[in-house]
């Protein structure tokens, strides 16, 4: 790709929209995963008693649904990303490619 083409793509509104959207989603989801996991780790490190609380009369502690929850949430977050990317990013990318890819 030559410099002029790069400039053109960079100034394209579709490209700017794609980058803005993707960066936003990327930051939000990455932060969500970091908060969930390190929140859990800090709970394990500082407040084991909280995780050891029993759910009612059951032997099952609150730590079990929370731990399994971290796994499930991580998977759901990847699902959310795929959903948004398939819905929004691919279309924009295709549009940009249509406009500029021939100039490679």
């Amino acid at each position: 790709m030559n410099k002029a083409l790069i400039e053109k793509i960079k100034n394209d509104t579709d490209f700017q929209k794609l980058v803005k959207e993707r960066t936003r989603i990327m930051i939000i989801l990455t932060l969500a995963e970091l908060v969930v996991y390190f929140g859990f780790i800090l709970l394990v490190a500082f407040n084991k008693e909280f995780l050891a609380q029993k759910l009612g009369d059951s032997v099952i502690t609150i730590g079990i649904p929370i731990g399994i929850g971290v796994i499930v949430i991580s998977f759901l977050l990847t699902g959310i990303y795929v959903y948004i990317a398939n819905k929004d990013f691919d279309e924009l990318t295709e549009k940009i490619k249509q406009k500029y890819a021939r100039g490679e």
């Binding site: 790709m1 790069i6 793509i9 960079k10 490209f15 794609l18 980058v19 993707r22 989603i25 990327m26 989801l29 990455t30 995963e33 969930v36 996991y37 390190f38 859990f40 780790i41 800090l42 394990v44 490190a45 500082f46 084991k48 995780l51 050891a52 059951s58 032997v59 099952i60 502690t61 730590g63 079990i64 731990g67 399994i68 971290v70 796994i71 499930v72 991580s74 998977f75 977050l77 990847t78 699902g79 990303y81 795929v82 990317a85 398939n86 691919d90 990318t93 940009i96 490619k97 500029y100 890819a101 490679e104």
Partner: protein, 577 residues
């Protein structure tokens, strides 16, 4: 028959024949009786994988075929293959054993091994696919100087592969000795030879399908075990956990975090290593070049995360199932007897009835790693145990094949083709990667035998720490940070590697457990928190201060790279045969 297929045939016959012949050789004391059922199932697996390798070898002609299986793997297939690459025998047998001995603490490891995947998805999967060709160093060196960046990537990759491979080989030798009754060195030689055959002849195509088959077998076997456990307890988790708590030597403590994560610094450092190490493993990153585009790349992580997460939930049920069901099986314990106190059946030491043996790692026949294997017999009889043993063997083979392929690719593509070779010649490059496969394979066999009696438990943690401190920071900065320069990346990455190595040597895991000193120099068990920080801080600092001509080119290269990262314009396509 061509020369190559003849060589493939002879080698295959030699390996299988060797395994048979060695079956009767006397080995060390822990060696179990030869298990014919398990061996039969394993031979069926090996025959099938050799068939696949033969099929793949005929389709592996170009460098692109060898490194990326032609780039035509679908997202779903790649998701399964990633899961197959990642779910090692350590995470199956090891975590099931950890849950059996400590309960909840086992779950902490599972979670740590899973949470890197969303990070890989959000930050790396699409840029990797859009920028890279065969190895992740294609991405880091996209706009930086080829020579220094490829050398750094090769140092990072080869150290990760070496430590990971040694840990896998030693684990494989011990496990196979237990499961099949082969001697330790026979086991290591069989594993090493098979992985050489898979990779050298079948390249990425054979490796991918071996990983897919292994993932299906492992997920199927583990699902059946978890299902049988739950069936036994009327699909009531309350029932299962209640029984487990009533019979385990640690009682209610198995339901909450215990001593595994003692202080916050250790907890966070281990968490960082697991999370960002996953995002820096060369054999995993390489898998993103096997799919045709960024869309399939992200899909593969979604499926992989689902399969791996599901698998870890199964291992948790398997571990608790073992606790709850082993009381019916005193034959799984050494020197134990079954007694009934207040209507509850317990397993206690034959000489000391006050000593509850359930959850005691030493009391279990074969040790804690045999938890899942014993449980397989308890819920499915000897035939199912044979199946699970064969699956465990298959699991090891798939993981070491992936590692070997990553190591060989680094040698041929990063070092040979882009640093040492005077001109580009893809045919020569493929030849070099095949030679590298043989050398790495033989190297792994030798190291596996040398390290037999050593404590190698720290090596997987070290591999993750290096991946998190060398490969991951450079990858992320090269993709997203305009100001990164070659000099900054090179010295920052090397410094992170040195810090990781030094800190692990003076930590309890090596200084005390391996070198047998009474006190560690530092208490931190995993170096990631400091080594990652070193890499990031130094790389950013040096890059900022770098005013060389090369630095100018590095920064100017960012814009074209950025456009390609975002849009995939100019990215490598798939080939169709």
């Amino acid at each position: 028959m061509t020369k190559r297929s003849l060589m493939f045939y002879l080698l295959s016959v030699a390996v299988v024949g060797f395994a048979f012949a060695a079956g009767g050789v006397d080995g060390p004391v822990q060696k179990q009786a030869v298990n014919p059922l398990a061996i039969t199932m394993f031979i069926i697996f090996v025959a099938a994988t050799l068939g696949i390798t033969y099929w793949a070898a005929k389709r592996t002609k170009t460098a692109k075929d060898f490194y990326t299986a032609g780039g035509g793997i679908t997202g779903f297939q790649n998701g399964l293959a990633i899961a197959g690459d990642f779910m090692s025998a350590a995470s199956f047998l090891g975590i099931a054993g950890l849950v059996y001995t400590s309960g909840y603490d086992g779950l902490l490891y599972s979670i740590g091994f899973l949470v890197g995947w969303p990070i890989v998805m959000f930050l790396l999967s699409e840029p990797l696919r859009n920028l890279g060709k065969y190895t992740f160093a294609d991405v880091t060196s996209f706009r930086l100087e080829q020579r220094r960046i490829r050398i750094l990537a090769a140092i990072g990759s080869l150290s990760v592969v070496t430590f990971y491979l040694i840990a896998q080989m030693v684990g494989a030798g011990k496990l196979i000795q237990l499961l099949f009754g082969l001697s330790y060195s026979t086991a290591v030689i069989v594993v090493g030879s098979l992985m050489i055959i898979y990779v050298a002849f079948g390249g990425m195509l054979a490796t991918t399908w071996i990983q897919i088959i292994k993932a299906i077998l492992l997920l199927g076997g583990a699902s059946f075990m978890a299902f049988m456990v739950l069936l036994h307890f009327g699909f009531s988790f309350e029932n299962l956990f209640q029984t487990a708590v009533s019979v385990h030597s640690k009682g209610e403590k198995i339901m909450a975090p215990g001593g595994l994560v003692s202080d916050p610094l250790n907890a966070i450092s281990l968490g960082l290593a697991l999370m960002f190490g996953t995002a820096g493993l060369p054999h995993i990153l390489m898998r993103f070049f096997t799919v045709p585009n960024a869309k399939e790349a992200r899909k593969s992580v979604f499926f992989a995360t689902g399969f791996i997460g599901y698998f870890y939930i199964l291992t948790f049920i398997i571990g608790f199932g073992a606790i709850a069901l082993f009381v019916q099986h005193p034959e799984y314990f050494q020197n134990a007897k079954q007694i009934v106190i207040d209507g509850i059946t317990k397993i206690v030491d034959a000489n000391d009835p006050a000593k509850n043996l359930v959850g005691d790692k030493k009391a279990l026949v074969g040790g804690e790693n045999m938890t899942a294997i014993h449980l397989a017999e308890a819920v499915g009889g000897p035939a199912f145990m044979g199946f699970i043993s064969a699956v465990a063997f298959a699991t090891i083979l798939a993981v070491v094949a992936g590692l070997t392929l990553a190591g060989a690719s680094t040698v041929s593509h990063d070092l040979y083709a882009n640093v040492f070779a005077k001109e580009k010649d893809e045919q020569k490059e493929v030849k070099v990667s095949k030679i590298a496969t043989f050398i790495i394979g033989i190297f792994a066999i030798v190291l596996g035998i040398v390290f037999e009696k050593q404590n190698v438990a720290f090596m997987v943690g070290l591999a993750f720490a290096i991946a998190a401190s060398v490969n991951f920071p450079i990858l992320i900065l090269s993709i997203y940070w305009r100001n990164l320069t070659t000099t900054g990346a090179f010295w920052g990455g090397l410094a992170g590697l040195v810090v990781a190595l030094v800190l692990i040597v003076i930590s309890p895991t090596v200084w005390v457990d391996v070198l047998k000193n009474p006190e560690p120099i530092i208490k931190l068990k995993n170096p990631a928190i400091f080594s990652m920080l070193t890499t990031f801080v130094l790389t950013i600092l040096i890059s900022k201060l770098d005013s060389s001509q090369r630095a100018k080119e590095d920064r100017e290269g960012f814009e074209p790279q950025y456009v390609r990262t975002q849009t995939g314009i100019g990215a490598e396509g798939a080939v169709h045969h």
